[in-house]
């Protein structure tokens, strides 16, 4: 009986010590998502995190087959808005771990194949964000 009580006490102490580590916000490794250019994204952030791939897939077919080139869900616009500048002041490519897409995809261990064909940096006509103000949160 004493042994059982001692075990329970030890367990209670262990759980008590661990609980704050599990629940305390900020201790988990989280991706440091670079901020986009505008005030807000084209859709609500949570929705974009879950469904951006569906939006892109839909838009790609609309563009390719129907010639619809609206900007709202265009990959080109995503890239232009979420540009991350490197130390040389130029937009980083998908080869860099700092690239906007890489930050999350590396975290969740997903390899998107968009950039096997698509450009991962904005075109010359797209205005670049100023300085490195878009880095970090």
């Amino acid at each position: 009986m004493t042994g059982v009580c001692r075990l329970l006490v030890v367990l209670w102490v262990m759980i008590g010590c661990m609980a704050p580590a599990v629940t305390k916000a900020g201790d988990e490794p989280e991706p440091l998502i670079p901020k986009g250019k505008g005030e807000r994204c084209v859709e609500e952030t949570g929705y974009m995190r879950r469904n951006h791939m569906e939006l892109l897939k839909h838009q790609r077919d609309e563009t390719l087959y129907k010639g619809i080139r609206t900007k709202r869900h265009s990959l080109q616009e995503c890239i232009a808005c979420h540009t991350v500048l490197g130390s040389n002041g130029r937009p980083v490519t998908i080869a860099s771990p700092e690239h906007f897409c890489n930050v999350c995809h590396a975290y969740v261990a997903v390899t998107p194949d968009c950039f096997m064909c698509h450009a991962s940096t904005p075109g010359p006509s797209d205005p670049l964000p100023f300085g490195d103000s878009n880095k970090g949160k």
């Binding site: 790609r60 609309e62 390719l64 087959y65 129907k66 010639g67 619809i68 080139r69 609206t70 900007k71 080109q76 890239i79 096997m116 064909c117 698509h118 450009a119 904005p122 075109g123 797209d126």
Partner: protein, 283 residues
């Protein structure tokens, strides 16, 4: 005689009654509208009236120089392309300068395709050809690219549906589903398609390109959709050659349609009945 055939061969055409929608002789079909093939015979007949129309030709030529009407008709960005439009290109071979490759350079810069010094396998969306009649010595220089056929063999043979024809007549490759089998390259009578053998690293935002896919001239669809002239046409006009004219073949009032009614023109391999959208004048 098939009741479907309404072209000049209608009296002699033996087009089969079942599913026959085109003439056996020239491919002319009653269901085709203003972009019907121009049989060589028709072209030669037109030659007879060319002299009578010479005054009109001259005045029209002056108009062509004055107006830069190569810009496509406006389409709202959220509207799909329309079947009422058939984009086409008219190449005036007599104005195409030998040794000039401005259209090729413009295309390369616009779409980011580059060579690696391996002509057999390098991408080639548009290329310059030099043709010479051995009997007469008559020589011409002309650009050759995807002919954007109405009945494209590349689309027929594609096993995945990646090769397709847009409603407005532009033949494209959906790289998302292209498996790189290259059947379309074998099927294309114009040798207009290329396979990407190397990993590209300088893609333009408007032209995705990837290793393992087949590609060809897109007729600058991204420019057409944004109401801008084609890269090759723009460059050719800029340098003053004016050898390329782009427009809507379905619109009888368009510059290209009007010029086609006045000048003789041919398509490459009309016998294959692919009904290309690219016309050559002076060939």
């Amino acid at each position: 005689m098939s009741t479907h055939c309404t072209c000049i061969h209608a009296e002699t055409c033996q087009a089969g009654p079942i599913g026959a929608r085109s003439c056996n002789t020239c491919g002319h079909g009653s269901d085709r509208t203003s972009d019907t093939p121009v049989p060589v015979e028709t072209v030669s007949r037109r030659c007879a009236i060319t002299g009578a129309l010479s005054a009109l030709v001259v005045s029209h030529g002056v108009l062509l120089l004055l107006s830069n009407n190569n810009v496509a008709a406006a389409k709202p960005a959220d509207q799909p392309v329309s079947r009422t439009i058939r984009w086409g290109l008219l190449v005036d071979v007599t104005k195409c300068a030998e040794g000039c490759s401005s259209c090729v350079d413009a295309c390369r810069e616009e779409h980011g395709w580059t060579g690696f010094g391996r002509p057999a396998t390098d991408p080639q969306w548009i290329r310059k050809l030099f043709l010479k009649d051995r009997a007469t010595g008559y020589a011409v220089s002309l650009p050759l690219m995807c002919q954007h056929c109405e009945f494209p063999p590349c689309v027929d043979v594609c096993p995945t549906g990646a090769s397709f024809r847009r409603a407005d007549g532009i033949v494209l490759v959906d790289r998302h589903i292209c498996i790189g089998c290259r059947y379309c390259m074998m099927a294309c009578p114009y040798n207009a398609r290329s396979f990407v053998h190397e990993t590209p690293n300088n893609q333009q935002p408007h032209t995705p390109r990837g290793k393992g896919c087949v590609e060809s001239c897109t007729l600058c669809a991204h420019r057409i959709d944004r109401d801008r002239p084609l890269a090759c046409v723009e460059r050719c006009t800029e340098i003053g050659h004016q050898a390329l004219l782009f427009g809507n073949l379905n619109d009888p009032r368009s510059e290209i349609s009007q010029r086609l009614t006045i000048y003789t023109s041919v398509r490459v391999r009309p016998d294959l009945r692919t009904n290309p959208g690219v016309y050559y004048q002076g060939l």
